[in-house]
Symmetry: C2
Subunit: 328 residues, 2 copies
DNA sequence: AAGCTATGTGTAAACGGTTACACAAAAGTA
DNA sequence: TACTTTTGTGTAACCGTTTACACATAGCTT
């Protein structure tokens, strides 16, 4: 790899001059510029970001921490972040935290050691303090904290909406599957749904499940044993909903006639299920992109009106819920 | 952030000594070590990777280029890579190429500018030359090239297997959905399946589709119009298979009685489909992990027996193919 | 006791950029 | 013309590490 010194020699100027024409900073004679650019071209010179980053004390790298890229909800978000940052020449250093505090800390540390300009993180509640004394901008994604800017979606409305959908469409024995309570957004949607259900005159049962397929399957199996009269299920996410759907089909229960089911997230394969799953949509890609936008504003020290951006969710009506007209 | 100089001052030694005790290189008196470590502890010193990387001309960063993290096949692979590298303290810089040459080149360049120690890439055929004159190790993932080490799966056996499955289970009017021919592994599995089918005395039709849901849907709709007598479909991947499944169900065709369907990849939601999709499994996570392992060996200049690692695929028998006993 | 080797430590030069500063020449102003 | 400002360029310090080298001292050998 050619260095700035090679270019300087080739062009017969000093390194300072090369640096100036490369960055368009300071003065440089038109003719000099040409000579330098020719040398750059000839040697295929690309400035070493590491050296630059060392002097400037900041790189063109952004750290991204997500719980688990293997969970279909997150790739969309990651892509949103990447696509947005990419336009501005920023690159992503990426890490899966598995919601584990140690891993988060480890990543934060190494990100810092690499002089990242900023970080975007879906971090667990308690780990927020890890970000507290950083002197680089951080934006939370899909999670919130008072002190940090954040982009997330309207879990409360989402939970409420899910409940409303089943209620409006006539379910009266509803099981609400609660995800892990430590995961704030999941807990919030649960609470909102629960509240909404309680105000209606229906039977409500709560069951616990992890966010994974396996967790969903065990949960759902139990569900039908304990509450065979169930005619409505609100799942904590689409994966668990898919598990429920499978169990429902296996038991020969008609859906949506005998039982209604609603998921959460609207991850891609949700439309491919049979019957296609009704769900509450979170705009994952958009969330990622907006978090990136916010981060860049922070980096550029632009003044920010809003630091907490709550994106709207929506009900995606498919075929595991009844048409509103045809209430039972 | 504390620097090595701060630590040196705090400990009352020179920076060289601090560096030596941090790295366990050269001599250092036991007492000195203690003093230094105490200072490190006190100041919470973490060496700046950027400076280190500048001097050493290599960082602890590995570049990863994948076509699209949003395609469920890749997160598994990415996770395999990450989990493996993470143990050795390497971090990932990540980029989506969308199979586009420019994007690949752009990422390769910036990765290089950041002094990555190595790269793992799922790159398009022609772009291989981009890696040619690099002086850092590269390993291809899910793709192959003569000159570069690679980890991939046995597409030929996979394609053949898919064909064999339908054949052995009695399909005689088979449609083979071919993915984009530019994507080598997809093309290979197609060719292998085609060959196998041709040797049998069955009707074979070929249709084209992209690898996306949308592409699959359009393709499949046409499929049934053009070849209503079809009793077996081999899809180029699971997503397209899912689209096919949906169309089959919509048309009220019985599966697997009237038609058999087999996918490719065994991405996670494949088991959640109804009926669960029979497919050819590629060990995506394992592929990622092995590519990482290979890369690390290269980085450490370890001698390598095999540079091209072909991982086995397997038939995952679910319910869109008939039991072998109950051939029609 | 003299001459080794092994141990312990510091100084300073890299690594590849950016930029403050100095200085010179050109251009503008009175 | 003499002075000021603008333009153009180079020198060298700096960013935070690592390491070659020099040097000093301790511990062994005879």
């Amino acid at each position: 790899m050619a260095t700035i010194r090679d270019v300087a020699k080739e062009a017969g100027v000093s390194v300072a001059t090369v640096s100036r024409v490369m960055n368009g900073s300071g003065y440089a004679h038109e003719d000099t510029k040409k000579v330098v650019m020719a040398a750059v071209e000839k040697l295929n010179y690309k400035p070493n970001e590491v050296a630059r980053s060392l002097y400037k004390r900041k790189s063109k790298l952004v750290g991204l921490i997500l719980p688990d890229i293997t969970n279909p909800f997150f790739p969309e978000m990651a892509r949103g972040v990447e696509d947005y940052l990419q336009q501005f020449g920023y690159r992503l250093i990426f890490g899966n935290s598995d919601e584990k505090r140690d891993k988060e800390i480890e990543y934060i540390d190494t990100f810092l050691q690499n002089n990242v300009v900023g970080m975007i993180a879906s971090t667990s509640e308690e780990a927020n303090e890890n970000f507290d004394n950083l002197d680089i901008p951080v934006v939370l994604l899909d999670r919130t904290a008072e002190k940090l800017p954040a982009v997330y979606s309207d879990q409360k409305t989402g939970g409420k909406l899910a409940a409303r959908v089943l209620l409006d469409r006539g379910s009266t024995n509803i099981v609400l599957i609660r995800g892990p309570v430590e995961i704030k957004p999941v807990y919030e949607r649960y609470m909102a749904a629960l509240e909404e259900l309680k105000q209606a005159k229906v039977n409500v049962q709560v069951m616990d499940s992890s966010l994974t397929l396996q967790g969903g399957q065990t949960c759902v199996k139990q569900l039908f044993e304990q509450y065979p009269e169930t005619d409505g299920i609100i799942a904590c996410n689409d994966i668990v909903a898919a598990a429920a759907l499978q169990e429902i089909l296996k038991r020969g229960i008609r859906i949506p006639e005998d039982i209604q089911l609603i998921g959460y997230d609207d991850i891609s394969f949700t439309a491919l299920l049979h019957p296609p799953l009704s769900t509450i949509r979170q705009p994952a890609y958009e969330m990622g992109a907006q978090a990136a936008e916010m981060l860049i504003k922070r980096i550029n020290q632009e003044k920010m009106e809003v630091t907490h951006k709550k994106l709207p969710v929506s009900f995606v009506e498919r075929q595991t819920t009844r048409r509103k007209a045809e209430k039972t």
